[in-house]
Symmetry: C2
Subunit: 313 residues, 2 copies
Amino acid sequence: MKAFIAVDIGGTQIRVAVFPEQGTTPIQQQRIRTVAEGQTAVERMIGLIEELWPTDAEVVSIAIAAPGFLDPKAGVVVTAPNIAGWVNLPIAEIIRSHFHVPVYLGNDANLAAMGEWHFGAGRGYSDILYITVSTGIGGGLIAGGHLVEGAHGMAGELGHVMAEPGGPLCGCGKRGHLEAVASGTAIARYMAEKIAMGLPTVFAPGSTPTAKETAMAANQGDSLSIEAFNRAGFYLGRAVADFLHILNPELIIFGGGVSLSGDTILLPIRKSLEEHVISPEYLKNLTITRTVLGDDSGLLGAFALMLSKLEQA
Amino acid sequence: MKAFIAVDIGGTQIRVAVFPEQGTTPIQQQRIRTVAEGQTAVERMIGLIEELWPTDAEVVSIAIAAPGFLDPKAGVVVTAPNIAGWVNLPIAEIIRSHFHVPVYLGNDANLAAMGEWHFGAGRGYSDILYITVSTGIGGGLIAGGHLVEGAHGMAGELGHVMAEPGGPLCGCGKRGHLEAVASGTAIARYMAEKIAMGLPTVFAPGSTPTAKETAMAANQGDSLSIEAFNRAGFYLGRAVADFLHILNPELIIFGGGVSLSGDTILLPIRKSLEEHVISPEYLKNLTITRTVLGDDSGLLGAFALMLSKLEQA
């Protein structure tokens, strides 16, 4: 029997799943915290892979979904701001030399797009825009039936496009990016600012609700919370219109915590998209939906990457 | 002997070239005006193809580069604003039923990108951003060694991304698009406005210089003309930074009349690009260059399209 080991590493947790050749149900899977005293994240990742290593199956390959900037071709994490010490880390070579099987590396959002394409909301489509809206905004692109990684694996940074020149500071250090006006963090910041200004809302003066709390208040009719989501949706729709003009996808998949608020965010996105698109042709055969794999999209994307490498070989 | 017939149709002229299987030098080529009394553009196109039809070679296929919105898969021109009556025109089927060979259709800017990739500045690259800046702004994308057409062939509309919210009216009817602030038309409009306001310049009061005349004046040190190009370059660089974040190309090719002004436009583009990119990694292995095929990129792109269809068959 053949087995494939998928790894999804983030700032908070490391997940490892062992997949059989058929189906998408792992033979084994486990998650541990990324950070622990006396161990590096790489040591913990290796330990967890060893623990789950199948004794009755031949491991074909290992694929790692990682955050930050990385060079998938070189197998190097250039910078991963959420994982201490991961700068120019040749992670693929480290893991390969330990386990002696081929190791592939991919950006977590790109692989999430790949996962949705192979196993989730994107099955059967060739041109897909995957956009995840949570604390940050990231994305992954499928164009003409191929994952768009870019020359050095840095494609799909959909949160870092100009949304409002001179606007709020973005996590990347630039101003006015989509992530700075439409992420969960941006929604929470907008609420804190307006509450501090004394605008009418169900939230107590001086409170700092999260995006999730804001979504719940919006659902109960709180006008400030509705306005916070309308504003984020306006910017998301305007940016997505640009993405349509650039890429002309047939499917948009929204992932991430903010998309869980459903119509609270999706309706303003659609309204803004219709307002900003240059031709109704872009919307005519366009489906807009939400992730079906949720948190598993990274692991399943890593698995899909290994299957596609097998086909290419 | 085998022959391939490439057609490039625009609002002003129709060009037809007959290519042999090897090399990029046409066996025959000719151009005529698109508009003439008593004939439709389609009739003129058919007439010119008939005229150049080789008697001593077998025509493998015909490929047409056309402007506007089109659906390459269906072979239909949806709208071509510069060609009268071209609305939902099944041009591929019309030409196929007349000449009884396979007919392919492509957006002119997408095919220009394809031409540069196969025969021009893009040879040997896999991830290319082609951007043409003339009266309008258009583009074509190569990602991972594949032309990005989008689900319905409407990808690459790089002129219609938001550059300045609330900014000048764009040809498409929306405000603030890149084309509305950085095309040759936008440069000329900026000059006319500033001259009308009485700003110091070599141009006479009330004059309305073209982008080309503005470029010449900029080269001779006219400060208003330099400012007009700096402004266009600022917007182009900021938009290209977004394109890098989305697509991470290794090569950018500038085409179109405005790019002929060389450093007058390229230096401000580079400056703005360096200012707006979120990581120097995007620029590290990035080459920025100009088209080498110039006006022939559409014809050669149509030829490249036919060769690639032959490989797929």
